[in-house]
Symmetry: C2
């Protein structure tokens, strides 16, 4: 064994270390080699710590991302249909390519399943997955199946950059605006409804259900952001504050959001007293959160078909809070830190690529 | 929804359909689109049904493969150390790139874990994984972590072909020899030892333990096979007969093995009365099984540093058995069909790419 410095870990459980601590552990263990030059880094442009990994191919930047959905952690088979599950598994992975402004091309599916499931349900799952793949021009080229006590779905998507650049988390600058596509909080509100909250209007109920179970990855939107000169973006999977915090951390800056500018669908404000929390911390909206100067945001707004709302500004790094939320009077709005985080609240969380 | 023909599945459980039936189901559901031209196939060269997927990149053939290890299905934490588990997770995936004769380059890790695990164990896991990655020049560029009731590890490896060709399962021809690198049955024998069988010689015990827990992927060997003109290969993950059967099925040919030529390590023949079964059906040896004409096999033998043994010949397709095993008198040796197969015997099985 080579004489290499080991990462020192005080005795603690994974749940105490937390999801992001665990990602840091993996990152530091794997990048030590890069620092010491022992592992060829090939042409890695973005390693652990963004929505997708990126490396320089022969002529194009290549992208790859992987995400796992675990039964009873990420989904409840009493709530989601198999067709919707197939859709969502593909969509959440495509969203990571969208967050890079990339073109998704190939998918690998790893399916761990109990033997007692109905084969017809797996067929429904594949139909849902294929439906989204077809829409976004993705070919499902391989994968594997294995027996497991619970359902665990891992998708990997491989793609490439649209041009010579990708959207990163690490390039935000103080003074830039913070903008978001679409509405926030719909997915988390949909989950509340699916868990029992009554929504009397059927059409509103349908909007909420689809927001949570059949999210639409903003693939084309990500590509348009790149074309219009945006450099910094992330998809909202963990929640607005948590994902904006990832940008702040990567870019070494802070952020200030104005609460009254956060776009919320009327179905949320009308039916959910906790609408602020849903919009700030809900997660799984799969909208694109990006930062850019005034002119670039204006161009992006013009070029995109969906609503684009400026919700705040990037600032110089401040401590302790990297993300500050202000109300209309300029007072700080308190929020629960964290958004979704695995091992702490056991709900969907971010990936380390 | 488009009006498309659905795959008809009679009411049955996944366990009745079996692993390969399930793979066929996924393949037929996803390739219908390709046939009908609805999904761009980009430049897919090899889709579902080989060791890795392959597509034409700008100048090189690109490869990708994914594999999942499920706690208590693929590994037992009472038997394997965390460092060995990290090694094995990386090695079994590299073996699929080896089976294509390719160059592995980038890895993505998806780790689903219970929160109660020790963080130090995850560090050991990453060290084991990184050790193998370093040896084979692979950069770990991303992945994700998630909470889960049991440990589920999914690795994805992305690489490229060594030259203009890859080793396939579908190109074997009648009259070609069947050859194998190394020895067969060591891994399954190692598992028997780890489950309680006494092996008095410590050195022998160590060979068996490493064969099962720290397999060496034959990456360089696969590249040499391509360089020497071999076109057809598979890695022995399911077992000699099961994997040879995959070649027969893909190539629409049959195979005849001579039992006395199957290479078995002395530790197996001396200590395991069931050595024939271990060698024929044991699986997880991660040796390369290939077919080629006499001159090509001779060149490969010359170029490789490891033992290479001719164990039989490919024949015209016969029914019912595609793989026949003969003893030294030319009599048929009966064997248990199947090798490892998920949902039937719940042990490691093949991937669908």
């Amino acid at each position: 064994m080579p004489n290499r410095a080991s990462v020192i870990i005080p005795p603690m459980k994974v749940s105490e270390l937390g999801e992001f601590g665990l990602i840091d552990l993996i990152r530091s263990s794997t990048t030590q080699d890069e620092i010491s030059g022992r592992t060829p880094r090939h042409e890695v442009l973005i390693g652990i710590g963004d929505d997708a990994a990126a490396w320089q191919g022969d002529s194009q930047i290549q992208l790859a991302t992987t995400d796992t959905l675990v039964q009873d952690i990420h989904f409840d088979l009493d709530v989601i249909s198999w067709e919707e599950l197939g859709w969502k598994a593909m969509a959440v992975n495509l969203s990571d390519i969208a967050a890079m402004g990339g073109i998704p091309k190939y998918a690998l599916l790893s399916l761990a399943l109990p033997g007692g499931l109905d084969a017809a349900d797996i067929s429904r799952f594949v139909n849902g997955m294929t439906h989204v793949a077809r829409e976004f021009g993705v070919a499902i080229v391989g994968g594997n199946v294995a027996a497991s006590p619970n359902v665990v779905i891992t998708m990997t998507i491989i793609g490439c950059a649209k041009g010579k650049a990708v959207l990163k988390r690490s390039t935000a600058c103080p003074g830039e605006h913070i903008a978001i596509t679409g509405y926030l909080g719909l997915s988390a509100a949909g989950l509340e409804m699916l868990k029992g909250k009554t929504i009397s209007d059927a059409e509103m109920g349908d909007i909420l259900r689809r927001a949570h179970l059949q999210p639409r990855p903003k693939v084309r939107e990500g590509q348009i952001l790149i074309e219009q000169g945006v450099r910094t973006a992330i998809d909202v999977s963990d929640g607005l504050i948590a994902d904006l915090d990832h940008i702040c951390e990567s870019s070494k800056v802070s952020a200030r959001i104005r609460m009254e500018q956060v776009p919320m669908h009327p179905v949320i404000t009308a039916n959910f007293p906790n609408y602020q929390e849903l919009a700030l911390c809900g997660g799984e909206d799969y909208e694109l959160l990006f930062t850019a100067d005034t002119a670039t945001v204006a161009r992006a707004k013009q070029a995109l078909d969906c609503p684009v709302t400026v919700i705040g500004d990037m600032t110089e790094a401040t401590l302790p809070a990297r993300v500050t939320v202000l109300d209309s009077k300029g007072n700080t709005v308190p929020y629960r830190r964290g958004g979704w985080e695995h091992f702490r609240n056991g709900v969907p969380g971010p990936k380390f690529s």
